[in-house]
């Protein structure tokens, strides 16, 4: 069966998960872009010990931390880091995974064996442990986070790309392109890739959620974004000791992570329903 072009699909398929997910992700993206406009104070510099540990209320909607900084403003700026890590690492993962999977599926032979073995190896190593090792070598910071998360989770898109290529390879139009004299790379980019893009976008969207969670975990462990910069994970890490006495320090970053990751997962699910008519799950 060929992929049905998007135009043929009834409008608004994908249903509620697409809309709720899209809404949550849209909100996160808006907050990240508009951070300087909607934040009330500078997230790092505006410390005021006179305002320390004020509970959520009219003046500070999410409360303040031990240095008297506004949690709301820190969460707003934290969205930038989370989304940068999510999007950036998934672009890297997709580039690596798709180029390996596409060539492995198309060429086959020893290259396919090699890529499959490498993919299995990557899947066998817990990616967070791998990322921890890379962070330990590169040191903390945003660019090392992107490397650590962007180089360790490409096996999913690689597998998907390879499987899709294998199922498309025998299609008449791929053979026709070869017969017409198209080169291998041209076939991969003009004939194969546009027809497997749907599932890859879904995988990348779902991967963003995972990457944001990994960033939070690494920052929580002190290897990601270091204080005083406001990453949701590093905010949780700082709040750990005061979870009983100053609970809003951990609740609000936790809720921000939860909603963003939930949004990305719902969006990925919804996109799958639209872009991948072969999946029969969750069709209403």
């Amino acid at each position: 069966m060929t992929l049905i072009p998007i135009k043929l699909m009834p409008r608004l398929r994908g249903g509620t998960s697409l809309w709720i997910g899209g809404g949550l992700v849209g909100l996160a993206v808006f907050v990240a872009i508009a951070a300087p406009l909607i934040a009330r104070t500078d997230p790092v510099m505006d410390a005021n010990l006179m305002n320390a540990e004020i509970p959520p209320g009219w003046e500070f909607p999410f409360g303040t931390d031990a240095q008297g900084r506004d949690i709301y403003s820190r969460i707003v700026y934290g969205a930038r880091i989370s989304l940068t890590v999510g999007v950036g690492s998934q672009i890297l993962n997709s580039l690596i995974g798709v180029s390996l999977g596409l060539t492995a599926g198309y060429w086959g032979g020893w290259w396919d064996d090699f890529v499959t073995a490498l993919t299995n190896l990557m899947l066998a190593i817990p990616s967070l442990i791998f990322a921890l090792a890379i962070m330990a070598i590169l040191g903390p910071g945003l660019s090392s986070l992107l490397m650590a998360l962007g180089l360790t989770a490409w096996s999913y898109s690689c597998r998907i790309a390879r499987a899709q290529v294998l199922s498309l390879k025998s299609q008449g139009y791929i053979q026709a392109a070869r017969i017409l004299g198209y080169g291998d790379l041209r076939i991969m980019f003009t004939q194969v890739l546009p027809n497997i893009l749907g599932p890859l976008i879904v995988i990348a969207t779902l991967g963003m959620g995972t990457a944001i969670l990994s960033e939070a975990a690494l920052s929580f462990l002190g290897l990601g974004i270091r204080p005083p910069f406001p990453s949701w994970g590093s905010m949780l890490s700082e709040a750990r000791d005061q979870i009983n006495t100053v609970p809003w320090l951990s609740i609000f970053p936790g809720v921000a992570i939860f909603l963003t990751v939930l949004g990305l997962n719902l969006l990925g699910d919804g996109l799958r329903d639209i872009l991948d008519p072969q999946s029969t799950t969750r069709r209403s």
């Binding site: 072009p5 299609q171 008449g172 053979q175 026709a176 017969i179 017409l180 004299g181 003009t190 546009p194």
Partner: protein, 322 residues
């Protein structure tokens, strides 16, 4: 005699299947010693049941599968020495399934124009002119150019497939079951279109089909294939009126024939199923299904020998049939 456009000399394509660890490696002889030629402007019908190696033979001629043995000469030169682009400009293919053979994400214009650009036609006006010209030749209107494949019916899609095969002005077109996936009402249209284009452009065809009825209408000559080998070949009239191989007789007997035109009776029917190409019977591959089977058929492989001018059959009893 005209120089053949395509000459196959003892062509064989074998595949290794299975694994050394699980059950051992077997050799699948998809095409096993085929000698054929196609002259310019001629239509050769290639007939056989599914799995007899017709499509593998086609892919080998297109240069997509390297031959295990033998030679393919295209337009007087060995295929192995021709470049990919040069081969593409000489031989093209029309596919069976008009739904799977067009890229769903490309407009008709892109499907037709990209090959021209790959082959060095860079002038935009010339590309456009050739696209419009070929679309008119296959019966598509210019406004169809910006539509996607899903906006067309099966017959129209097959016309796009034909246009794509002809855009590079090839001399030989391999038609792999060009109408078997189409509605019966459309088939005659497409067959007639193919015949018109053949005369207009001086094309040679290899018409691959499992249906002798289709081949009968279009072919100058017919080759019958069974389990990787040619069992009979000759002019279509010879083949239909005087078949000398029991398998050909069985195929002709299988054509629906309300007027009893064919000179073959129901006794000619073949028994049973096609054996596995992985483990073909010894001697004549057809003997387990053959009504004329004798001891010699099991022990000796019958060569493809002439029975009349331009008519050859691979059967020990070729002179007694008929």
């Amino acid at each position: 005699m005209a120089e053949p456009l395509l000459a196959l000399d003892d062509l064989a394509v074998h595949f290794k299947v299975g694994s050394a660890l699980a059950g051992g490696v077997h050799t699948l002889k998809a095409v096993d010693g085929v000698t054929l030629d196609v002259k310019p402007g001629e239509c050769l019908g290639l007939v056989g049941e599914s799995g007899c190696g017709k499509s593998t033979l086609a892919l080998a001629i297109m240069g997509l599968i390297p031959p295990t043995r033998g030679h393919i000469a295209l337009d007087g030169r060995d295929l192995a020495q021709r470049g990919r682009l040069e081969t593409a400009r000489t031989v093209q293919m029309i596919f069976q399934d008009p739904y799977a053979s067009l890229n769903p994400r490309q407009t008709v214009r892109r499907t037709l124009a990209d090959p021209l650009r790959i082959h060095g036609v860079t002038d935009r006006a010339e590309v456009e002119a050739r696209v419009v010209d070929i679309m008119a030749k296959v019966g598509l209107r210019p406004e169809h150019a910006d539509r996607y494949p899903h906006e067309f019916s099966g017959g129209q899609r097959q016309r796009i497939g034909i246009a794509r095969a002809l855009i590079l002005k090839p001399k030989l077109v391999i038609c792999d079951e060009p109408v078997s996936a189409l509605d019966v009402s459309i088939r005659a249209q497409i067959i007639n279109l193919l015949l018109e284009l053949k005369d207009e452009l001086g094309l040679a065809y290899i018409m691959i089909s499992h249906d002798l009825g289709v081949v009968e209408h279009v072919s100058d000559r017919v080759a019958v294939m069974y389990l990787g080998r040619i069992v009979e070949q000759g002019g279509w009239q010879e083949i239909f009126e005087n078949p000398r191989h029991p398998y050909t007789r069985a195929l002709i007997a299988a054509i629906p024939d309300p007027f009893h035109r064919a000179a073959v009776s129901a006794r000619a029917k073949a028994r049973g199923e096609v054996p596995s190409a992985l483990d073909p019977p010894p001697g004549c591959h057809f003997h387990p299904r053959c009504p004329l089977k004798a001891d010699i058929c099991v022990s000796q492989d019958p060569p493809l020998e002439p029975v009349a001018a331009g008519h050859r059959a691979a059967c020990h009893f070729r002179d007694r049939i008929g």
